[in-house]
């Protein structure tokens, strides 16, 4: 945490009841979610969720276990279709779209319970992320036309470049499933970056990492944002990470947003403290 310096940022309001960093305000927010909700049978997992994310913002989503954070990601990526509300991605309504379409529109993600292509090599995992960046058709593959060789060569170079963000290029031939836990999480980020997103969703990227790995991850998340000029939204329980790199933070409890603001706002918000530590009265 001490190595880490976040530039002070001012959050400003945008037309919907949301806030984004001041430097992004002249551009459409990459994400604007309003009144988002989903019911699973009788259970309302997410209700009236509102959030805006600026073009180059690193945003955080925190809250106790079972609060509905992963469900929000699943709604944004259309793993579930929302029961209520709208999701505007880069100014476009994503209603009726599926996972593949919103990925092509610019959302990429990682998973809380890692979902790598375990039996395939690290390189193949990244190349699958780069699938839509390659353009040759099936006949070119079967007959090995020049477009195949060209496109594969470019993609492999790109994959190594992306792997080098985490210094993983030497692991290209290793089987993804054989990597240590931390490296698997990093590989998921690399694979997601392969799809050339404008919004990257990270679901507990530091889970299972030791403190030095976590610090390194924080630096790399910032590096990714700075080099790719993309927005990143992350769910995380490690408060030093969240408070260290997130500019805007939303706090979720029982499917509802109970607080929003800068890390400073969140840290001093009594409702947040209550959600995490419980009410004083109840504790007695």
């Amino acid at each position: 945490m001490s190595r880490f310096q976040r530039e002070p940022v001012k959050l400003v309001p945008v037309p919907s009841p949301n806030f984004i960093p001041e430097r992004d305000v002249d551009k459409t927010p990459i994400l604007e979610v309003s009144h988002l909700g989903i019911d699973f049978g009788g259970l309302t997992a997410v209700d009236d969720f509102n959030m805006a994310i600026g073009r180059t913002e690193i945003a955080g989503l925190i809250g106790p276990n079972g609060a509905g954070k992963t469900t929000v990601f699943n709604l944004l990526t259309k793993v579930y279709q929302p029961t209520r509300g709208t999701i505007m991605l880069d100014g476009r309504d994503t209603a009726g779209m599926n996972t593949i379409q919103v990925n092509k529109l610019g959302i990429a993600r990682t998973f809380q319970n890692i979902r790598l292509f375990k039996a395939l090599s690290v390189m193949d995992n990244v190349l699958i992320g780069l699938h839509n960046e390659m353009d040759y058709h099936l006949p070119s593959a079967v007959f090995r036309f020049p477009s195949y060789w060209r496109s594969e060569k470019i993609a492999k170079g790109r994959a190594l470049e992306l792997l080098s963000i985490f210094d993983m290029q030497d692991l290209a031939d290793a089987k993804a499933g054989s990597l240590p836990y931390g490296a698997q999480r990093r590989l998921e980020i690399v694979r997601a970056l392969g799809t050339n997103p404008s919004l990257l969703l990270l679901d507990e990227p530091a889970a299972g990492m030791n403190p030095s790995e976590t610090t390194e991850l924080m630096e790399n998340i910032q590096k990714i944002r700075d080099t790719f000029k993309i927005a990143i939204m992350l769910i995380e329980h490690d408060m030093s990470l969240v408070m260290g790199i997130c500019e805007g933070i939303g706090v979720l409890n029982y499917g509802k947003v109970i607080a929003k603001g800068t890390p400073e706002d969140i840290q001093s918000n009594p409702q947040v403290i209550e959600a995490y530590l419980g009410k004083k009265k109840e504790a007695n």
Binding site: I100, F117, D124, H131, N132, L138, A141, R144, R191
Partner: protein, 350 residues
């Protein structure tokens, strides 16, 4: 930097394989046309080739795509009848048979699309049952279509007789070569990786923007196409077609080849497709125990090596040559023989 496991450059690797395969075809063909290999054994060798095509094509749907279709014989039947009818109608010309095989493959592929689109919406057991049903329906249709609709097409239970026996060693193994080449080149491309990603994790595949419906259908259709071609070769090899040859047991037989060889290993499918076809022929006297042996072998392999004989390992001649060159150059390849094999799984293996 990156570990370079390929020493022989890419186009040369293809050339080496093509030259060696052509040499194999030439030698075998000389032996057969010269009479060193009898007509009977040449027929057996062709049926080995047909089994290899069936196993390699089913491996595309099971090993690579990760589905469990139980109707592969149905696609084979569709291809066999299509080719046979064309052959009977227009025998004689040299070009007829290749065209008939192509037509058999295409009609089977069409059925692959028709059955694949609903079937691939289902998962696991449901897909297995739906494709099993498809196989049975094909058999029943072939059996009864003439009676019901008054055609003189499939000739019911008596089956199609006197199909020109145009299947030769050469044409069979050219088809084997094409099947392996096409499936190999698909699998080592962005399209093949998309198919593998569905097997590995469908949700993650979709989150990478992979059109899973399209690629599932593609894998299924390619699988059906080559089963259809194998059916055509079968018709031309035996000369008689009968619906009962394409029943549930035939589908299971092909599945056993794939499982035994190792799901996801083309080399395993080639090997076990060949062995499981050759053995019963060589041990003719034990023919009635064939299914017993099948079941026993399967049980034993599943107990001792659940991933099949080859696992997902694919043999690569050039990979072998690479290792040899490395070793001759000064022992960099030593001590890691096994480890290198394991690491090369799923990588470019020509």
């Amino acid at each position: 930097m990156i570990k370079k496991s390929t020493i022989i450059p890419m186009p040369l690797r293809y050339l080496i394989n093509i030259v060696l395969f052509a040499a194999f075809l030439f030698v075998m063909n000389t032996l057969i046309t010269g009479g060193t290999i009898s007509k009977y054994y040449s027929g057996v060798i062709s049926s080995i080739g047909i089994s290899i095509i069936l196993a390699v094509s089913l491996n595309m749907a099971t090993g690579y795509l990760g589905q469990l279709p139980l109707g592969h014989a149905g696609f084979m039947a569709v291809g066999a009848y299509t080719s046979a009818l064309i052959m009977k109608a227009a025998a004689g010309s040299l070009i007829t048979f290749p065209l008939a095989l192509l037509a058999g493959g295409l009609v089977a592929a069409l059925f692959g699309i028709l059955i694949g689109i609903p079937a691939l919406k289902l998962k696991g057991d449901y897909l297995a049952i739906l494709t099993l049903g498809f196989g049975q329906i094909i058999m029943v249709v072939l059996l009864n279509i003439d009676d019901v609709l008054g055609f003189k097409l499939t000739r019911g239970a008596a089956g199609l007789q006197k199909i020109p026996k145009t299947t030769t060693f050469l044409i069979t193994f050219i088809c084997v070569g094409i099947t392996c080449f096409v499936i190999h080149t698909i699998m080592k491309s962005r399209h093949g990786r998309a198919i593998l990603s569905i097997r590995e994790n469908e949700i993650a595949a979709e989150s990478c923007g992979i059109n899973t419906t399209y690629y599932k259908t593609l894998g299924f259709v390619v699988s059906a196409f080559f089963a259809g071609v194998a059916g055509g070769l079968y018709a031309g090899n035996i000369g008689i077609l009968n619906p009962s040859a394409f029943g549930f047991m035939k589908s299971i037989e092909i599945l056993v080849m794939v499982v035994l060889g190792g799901m996801g290993s083309m080399f395993g499918s080639v090997l076990s497709g060949g062995v499981l076809t050759a053995l019963p022929e060589l041990l003719r006297d034990f023919d009635k125990y064939r299914m017993v042996v099948y079941s026993l072998v399967l049980v034993v392999v599943m107990i001792f090596k659940p991933t099949g004989l080859m696992g997902t390992y694919d043999f690569s001649l050039n990979g072998l040559l690479d290792k040899l060159i490395l070793r001759l150059k000064g022992g960099k390849g030593d001590g890691g023989g096994k480890a290198v094999l394991v690491e090369k799984e799923g990588k470019a293996n020509e």
